[in-house]
């Protein structure tokens, strides 16, 4: 079978087997084997591309270029880590008697299904299929958000579903308008919606229809990426989703939604020049970074804190793409990569801390986490250092690249605003996590605190930490080549 198709089939089969049933052990084994195989296949896919052949399937409806390959590899990597963490996570909840058979079915079925949908987005060359795939990600993840079946998780799931569906309605309208702006010059078969085909025909598009389409599509996919002002589902969903699903949303969904935004941006750029969609992306990106500031400074919940950090990083990537220069594009792709390495660490350590304290509210957890859960506590501190973009870790370099691209390009004002916001965000996030982890021990925690134990969730956590640290000093040459190639695509160098 085609390697590309196989990469999609494996998580789908894993999902089917997981939903079907079986003993706990066999389900764990299937989940880990399936996600491990998926990661292997995604690396093989990227290697094929770097080797010089472009993997395609179904007459170019699915096609892997450098941008797709980067998103696919990162998604495969995070999925595997998330799978390992998930097994440990569910076991601990199981030991507390919190897991019903329905939850088990949803967990083992929906996590691989979500991975499938995320990969499907990233390999779609056809923008119609891309929309279908994004809708599938929403439907696969909504029950993961509502997983714990508390009042608040139902609320989060409902808001997630309504806002997500509305955003996707806009994205659908945008897709239709972009197709319509071809005014009959496009193929009427499925190939007419292929991105590669649209890029060739773009210079003849009707500008008014295209502009309207681009606005709707960027807002629609921006909702899924969590760009302000359509970000409001994110804090709720991140707080309620179990951590292994949360990390898939924070990294996999963010990258895949960015993929969609870049594709639409490039069509617009080829049709009516770079200014229009670049301006929109810059505005949405800056707004996202700004919006995160007050909510991080005054946050009451650990996972919501991570959500606002994720909104910030989505904004930074959007700014990098919006700058439109090769340097900006390279910064954006580098940022996406380093973010994908740092965020799992943040989610896993915060998730374990929250699980051991039986709440993710900062007040309930109480300061002095380091004394109660030393391993997760110190990893959480390390994660905070990374995601705030401190040297010598990766996100520092990518943020610097984007800032430089802004200052030396024609966007000094935007870069200055970004720099200001980043400084405040650095202080706010470090303050919050620093207080939580390093603060004085609370004498009597509000809820009983469990001891840390060496299990698969800790293994995943340590693996994420090593990946994040090592990547700061050493990016494997093929990965760097992939990032550079992806940046060329994002900067509009590949037609």
């Amino acid at each position: 079978m085609n390697l590309l198709v196989l990469t999609l089939v494996v998580p789908l089969v894993t999902a089917a087997l997981g939903a079907l049933g079986g003993s706990r052990r066999s389900r764990d084994a299937v989940l880990l084997a399936g996600l491990g195989l998926t990661f292997g296949l995604s690396v093989a896919l990227a290697a094929t591309l770097l080797g010089g052949t472009t993997p395609t399937a179904f007459g170019d409806a699915l096609r892997v270029d450098a941008l797709s390959a980067l998103v696919v590899v990162l998604c495969g990597f995070v999925s595997l880590l998330s799978g390992i963490y998930a097994v440990g996570y569910l076991r601990r909840n199981d030991a507390r008697g919190l897991v019903t058979p329905r939850m088990r079915r949803e967990f083992y079925g929906l996590i691989p299904a979500y991975v499938f949908a995320l990969l499907f987005v990233a390999v779609s060359n056809n923008i119609g299929l891309m929309w279908v795939a994004v809708e599938l990600t929403t439907l696969a993840s909504v029950f993961l958000v509502g997983f714990h079946n508390r009042d608040t998780s139902i609320e989060a799931a409902w808001k997630f579903l309504m806002l997500g569906s509305l955003g996707l309605g806009f994205a659908l309208l945008g897709t239709i308008l972009i197709y319509a702006s071809g005014e009959g010059r496009l193929d009427e078969t499925m190939a007419g919606l292929n991105w590669t085909h649209l890029m060739k025909a773009a210079p003849q598009f009707h500008p008014f229809t295209l502009r309207l389409g681009v606005v709707f599509a960027l807002i629609g996919y921006g909702t899924k990426a969590g760009l302000a002002p359509m970000h409001t589902w994110k804090p709720d969903a991140y707080r309620e989703a179990p951590s292994p699903a949360g990390v898939l949303m924070a990294v996999g969904m963010l990258n895949s939604a960015m993929y969609c935004l870049v594709r639409i941006h490039l069509i617009s750029r080829a049709a009516i020049g770079p200014d229009f969609s670049s301006g929109l992306l810059l505005a949405l990106g800056l707004l996202s970074v700004m919006v995160a500031v007050p909510f991080i400074l005054l946050q009451w919940n650990l996972k919501r804190l991570l959500a606002y950090s994720s909104i910030e990083h989505a904004g930074i990537i959007a700014i990098g793409v919006g700058l439109g220069t090769p340097a900006g594009a390279f910064g954006a792709m580098l940022h996406m990569t380093y973010h994908s390495f740092a965020k799992p660490l943040a989610f896993f350590s915060a998730g374990t801390v929250a699980q051991l304290h039986r709440s993710s509210d900062l007040e309930v957890i109480g300061s002095g986490v380091l004394g109660r859960t030393p391993v997760s506590g110190s990893l959480l501190m390390l994660a905070a250092v990374m995601v705030t973009g401190s040297p010598p870790f990766g996100l520092f370099f990518s943020e610097m690249t984007i800032l430089q691209a802004g200052f030396f390009g024609s966007h000094a004002t935007e870069a200055a605003l970004l720099l200001g916001a980043l400084v405040v965000l650095f202080c706010g996030f470090s303050y919050q996590i620093g207080k939580l982890v390093l603060g004085p021990q609370v004498a009597d925690p509000l809820r009983p605190v469990d001891q840390e134990s060496v299990d698969l969730s800790m293994v995943a956590n340590l693996a994420a930490a090593s990946a994040a640290v090592v990547s700061a000093f050493y990016l494997p040459a093929p990965l760097l080549a992939l990032i550079k190639a992806a940046a060329v695509v994002v900067a509009g160098g590949v037609k």
Binding site: L136, L139, V142, N149, I154, S165, I176, L212
Partner: protein, 215 residues
């Protein structure tokens, strides 16, 4: 003849959207949505006949089968099982809502003039109606409190988008359209399950009670 049918159906869809705004009984609102989907199906058939595009018949069959019959049937079942039949006082009262929607219709028609086909009579109406319906659907979504009404508002937006697609592209590629329909069905099923869970948990489907999460 063709033109008359198209304008009639488009107008019918707009009227049904207005009636939905003025309606409080949930079952009637669902029926109105069903009627709106039938009108959309007729638009597709008429266009298919006029332009000789047979793949529009499949679009029409999908629209009538799924949105005209299956989704209304499913939602009526949800309402019956839940046992809540009336919308409570919306955030904005009915006369004010209707006036707002009138203004939205003017906006929709105004924007439709910018499209290249917008100058021709029929397309102008179809696009004008669909943009107005889109705005009315969004308006319904933010002002209503019951989960079912919000779903119907979302589906109205979806219908408006399909009408736009018919008006300006004479149909999307078939495979893609099948994908869209498949996703919409899945979405409605998921939404239905969510309604059950909300009612189960809160003993009401008043989504304005879902307001614990802030900051």
């Amino acid at each position: 003849m063709t033109h008359n049918i198209l304008v009639l159906c488009a107008a019918g869809m707009l009227v049904s959207a207005f009636l939905m705004v003025g309606q409080r009984a949930l079952i009637t609102t669902i029926r109105l949505y069903g009627a709106q989907s039938w009108a959309l199906g007729v638009v597709a058939i008429t266009m298919g006949l006029a332009d000789g595009r047979p793949h529009l018949y499949i679009t029409a069959a999908l629209t009538i089968g799924l949105k005209g019959i299956f989704i209304p049937w499913f939602l009526v079942r949800v309402v019956d099982r839940v046992g809540i039949h009336r919308e409570i006082e919306p955030f904005l009262n009915v006369p004010a809502s209707l006036l707002t929607c009138l203004a939205l219709t003017v906006v929709g028609y105004r924007v439709s003039a910018g499209f290249p086909v917008g100058t021709q009579l029929v397309a102008h109406h179809v696009i004008g109606v669909s943009l107005s319906m889109l705005l009315i659907g969004l308006f319904l979504m933010v002002t209503r409190k019951k989960a079912i009404t919000q779903i119907l508002a979302l589906l109205t937006v979806e219908n408006a988008i399909f009408l736009i697609a018919l008006g300006i592209t004479s149909g999307m590629p078939l495979v893609v359209e099948l994908g869209f329909s498949f996703d919409i069905i899945l979405a409605v099923l998921v939404l239905g399950i969510m309604v059950f869970r909300i009612v189960d948990r809160f003993e009401s489907m008043d989504v304005s009670r879902l307001s614990k999460l802030k900051g």
